[in-house]
Assembly symmetry: C2
Homo-oligomer: 345 residues x 2
DNA sequence: CTGAAAGCGCTTACAG
DNA sequence: CTGAAAGCGCTTACAG
C-alpha cells in the first residue's frame, strides 16, 4: 500500500489510479468530461485510501471554502436551534460545513466581528436569523464583502437578497378559524411587540378570520404583549378578570400562551373546559405544559435547509435551476398542531 | 493606497510596511523576536489595510485550521445551546471559529461522518457533548485521526482525554440541604434513568444530605424516572396520591420537575404551599412556569469556554501552563437558584 | 532581530 | 477525454 504515515493527498490517489491529479480533481468535483471507467477507477482508489480532499487546499486554490456561516443572536431561542439543525444536516448532504457565530445585535464592534469572520474564513454563504437579518449594519458589512446571504424570516424582504419565511398571516388565520369552528365567538388576542413584523402579520390573520365570519374584533379583547411569559400572564389576567370573559385566547406566541395558562390556573379557570388557549411557534415547552398547547409549527428546519440550498446553488450552476424556480423569496408551509388546550364551547 | 480590488494579502502588508512577509507573519502570530518598532509599524499597516490572514492559507501552510468542532446529538437540548454559546464566544476571543455538526448517536455511518469532517476540515480540536462523548465509536474515530478532544460531562472520565464537568453529587447535596433547612423531612426523589451517570450522582448527593441529618431514605419516597416530563408527572402522581405524602419532591432534572408541578396542579395541591418542588439544570422553562422552579444551574457556558481553552492550549505553548494547572479533568462550580417552588413547612 | 526559498494540497486556465 | 504548469496565501525550516 502507498498509505504512509500522513493522510493521503491527491497525488497519492493519482499515482495509485494511474492518472494525473487533474483527473482526480475532476472526478471529485463532479466535472463532466471524464470517461466512466476512469471515473470508477479513481473513485475506487479514493475509497480504498479513505481519501478526502483537504478543505484548506481546495479553498486556497479554488476560492470556495465549503463553509456556510450561521449568524445568530439569541442562543436560547429554540428558533436558532432548529435553524441550526436543519442547516447542519443539509450542509452535510451537500458537502459543506456550518460555522456558527453568536453576535450581540448591538455590539459596538459588530462590524469588526463580521469582517473578521468573513475575511478569515471566506464562507461561501451566510445565513442570518432575526434580529441580525434586519440589522442594516450587518447587511452592509456582508454586502460589501460580497458574501451571499439568505435571510431567515426577516421583518421585510430586501430586493435582491434571498429570504426564507413562513406565512404568518395565513397561519394566524387558520388557527383563529380553528377556534371559530369550535364555536368560539368571544376570542381575545394578545399581540406581539409592535417592533416585530410578525406581530402585525399574526394580528392581521386573526382579524381576517373574524371578519370572514362577520365578527368585528372587540377592542376590549385585544391586548398588547411582548412575546414574553410575563406579558402573556399579565394580559390574560386583565382579559380574564373582566365581566364578560372571552371563551378563547389567541396568544401571538407560545411563551405568552404559557403565561395565559398560568393566569387561568391562578384564577381557577380550567383549560380547555372554561377557556381555550392557542399559541404560535410550537416551542418545545408547548407540548410539555398542562394542557398541551394547540399552536402553529413554524417549518424552521425546512427553512434552514432551503437557505443552505439557495447559498450552495450560487456556486453550483447545476443546482441553480430548481432554486431559481423556487424564487428569491421562499415561503414554506406551516402546520397546525392541535393539542388539548382547545375545546368546543 | 495599494489596496486593489481584491482583499489585501500578506505581500501587500509587507510591501507597505517595508518588511518581509516573514516578519508580518511573525507579528501576526505573536512570535517573539521582533523589534517593538517593527511590530508597531506592521500592526499599523494591518489596521490600515484591514488585513486578515486567510484561514485556508494559514491552515494549508501551518497545519493549524483555527477551527474547533462541536459534535452534538440532541438539537433541542438547552445544554447544547449553552455549550455552543460559551464555545463560540471563547473561540472568537482566541481567534478560532466553531464548526458544528449534528450527529445521530446511533447512525450507521457515524464513523464516515466523523472521518469526513476530520479529514476535510482538520479541526484543531473537538468538543463532544453527551451522549456522543460516551460513544466508543466516536471516541475511537477521533483518537485514530489524532484530533484533540474535550469531553463535556462524560459518563466517566477517560485516562488521557480531557474533560469538563460539574459536581452533580455536591449540587444534589446542596439542594437537598436547602429542603432540609426549610424543615422538610419527608422528601421524595424522582431519579433519572439508570443508564446516565448523572442519575446515580444526583441520587447519591440526595442520600448524603439526608444521612448527614440522620434520615434514612424511605424506599416509598424513591421513584424511578426518565428525565422526561411524562415520567416526572407519573412518578409524582404515585408519590402524591399515597397516604403519607412527602412535603417536598426533588426531581433529578427540570423536565421531570415540570411534570411534578403538573401532577400537583391536577391533584389540587398548591406549590409551594403544600408541596415544595426542586429540579436540576435551570432550563429556560424553569423560570417561566408557575411557580418558578428552585433548581441548580449547571455552569454549561463556562464549561464550554474551558473546553475551548484546553483545546487551544494544546497548540499554544504559552497557554499550556495555566491549563496544566487546572488539570486534565476540570470540575466547574455550579449555582443554587432559589425561586418560588420551595417554602418552609 | 530579519529575510529568501521552499512547500502545504489543491484548482484554474491553457493545451492537446 | 486527459495532462503539465502555475499559483492560491500563508508558514516552516534554514540562514545570517
Amino acid at each position: 500500500m502507498s498509505t504512509r504515515g500522513a493522510s493521503p493527498t491527491i497525488v497519492d490517489v493519482a499515482r495509485e489510479a494511474g492518472v494525473s491529479i487533474k483527473t482526480v480533481s475532476r472526478v471529485l468535483n463532479h466535472e463532466p468530461g471524464v470517461h466512466q471507467s476512469t471515473r470508477d477507477q479513481v473513485l475506487k482508489v479514493v475509497e480504498a485510501l479513505r481519501y478526502r480532499p483537504k478543505q484548506s487546499a481546495r479553498s486556497l486554490a479554488g476560492g470556495r471554502s465549503f463553509l456556510i456561516g450561521l449568524l445568530y443572536y439569541d442562543p436560547s431561542a429554540i428558533f436558532v436551534g432548529s435553524v441550526q439543525q436543519g442547516a447542519t444536516l443539509r450542509c452535510r448532504e451537500l458537502g459543506y460545513h456550518l460555522v456558527v457565530e453568536s453576535l450581540h445585535n448591538d455590539a459596538p464592534d459588530l462590524r469588526q466581528q463580521i469582517d473578521r469572520m468573513v475575511l478569515a474564513l471566506r464562507p461561501d454563504g451566510m445565513i442570518l436569523t432575526p434580529p441580525l437579518c434586519d440589522n442594516p449594519e450587518v447587511l452592509a458589512a456582508l454586502r460589501e464583502s460580497g458574501t451571499p446571504c439568505v435571510l431567515m424570516s426577516p421583518e421585510r424582504d430586501i430586493r435582491g437578497v434571498p429570504s426564507v419565511r413562513m406565512d404568518d398571516v395565513h397561519a394566524a388565520e387558520e388557527i383563529t378559524n380553528l377556534l371559530l369552528s369550535l364555536g368560539h365567538r368571544r376570542i381575545a388576542i394578545i399581540k406581539g411587540p409592535p417592533d416585530q413584523s410578525a406581530s402585525a402579520a399574526r394580528y392581521q390573520g386573526f382579524v381576517n378570520a373574524l371578519r370572514a365570519h362577520d365578527i368585528e374584533p372587540d377592542p376590549e379583547l385585544v391586548q398588547p404583549g411582548a412575546f414574553t411569559f410575563a406579558s402573556g400572564r399579565d394580559a390574560a389576567h386583565k382579559l380574564l378578570s373582566g365581566r364578560r370573559r372571552p371563551t378563547a385566547v389567541f396568544a401571538s406566541n407560545d411563551d405568552m400562551a404559557l403565561g395565559v395558562l398560568a393566569a387561568a390556573h391562578r384564577l381557577g379557570l380550567s383549560v380547555p373546559g372554561e377557556l381555550s388557549v392557542v399559541g404560535f411557534d410550537d416551542s418545545p415547552t408547548a407540548a410539555l405544559v398542562w394542557p398541551p398547547l394547540t399552536t402553529v409549527r413554524q417549518p424552521v428546519a425546512e427553512m434552514a435547509r432551503a437557505a443552505v440550498e439557495m447559498l450552495v446553488a450560487v456556486q453550483r450552476p447545476d443546482m441553480a435551476a430548481p432554486t431559481a424556480a423556487a424564487g428569491l423569496h421562499q415561503v414554506l408551509p406551516h402546520e397546525l398542531v392541535v393539542r388539548d388546550s382547545t375545546r368546543a364551547r
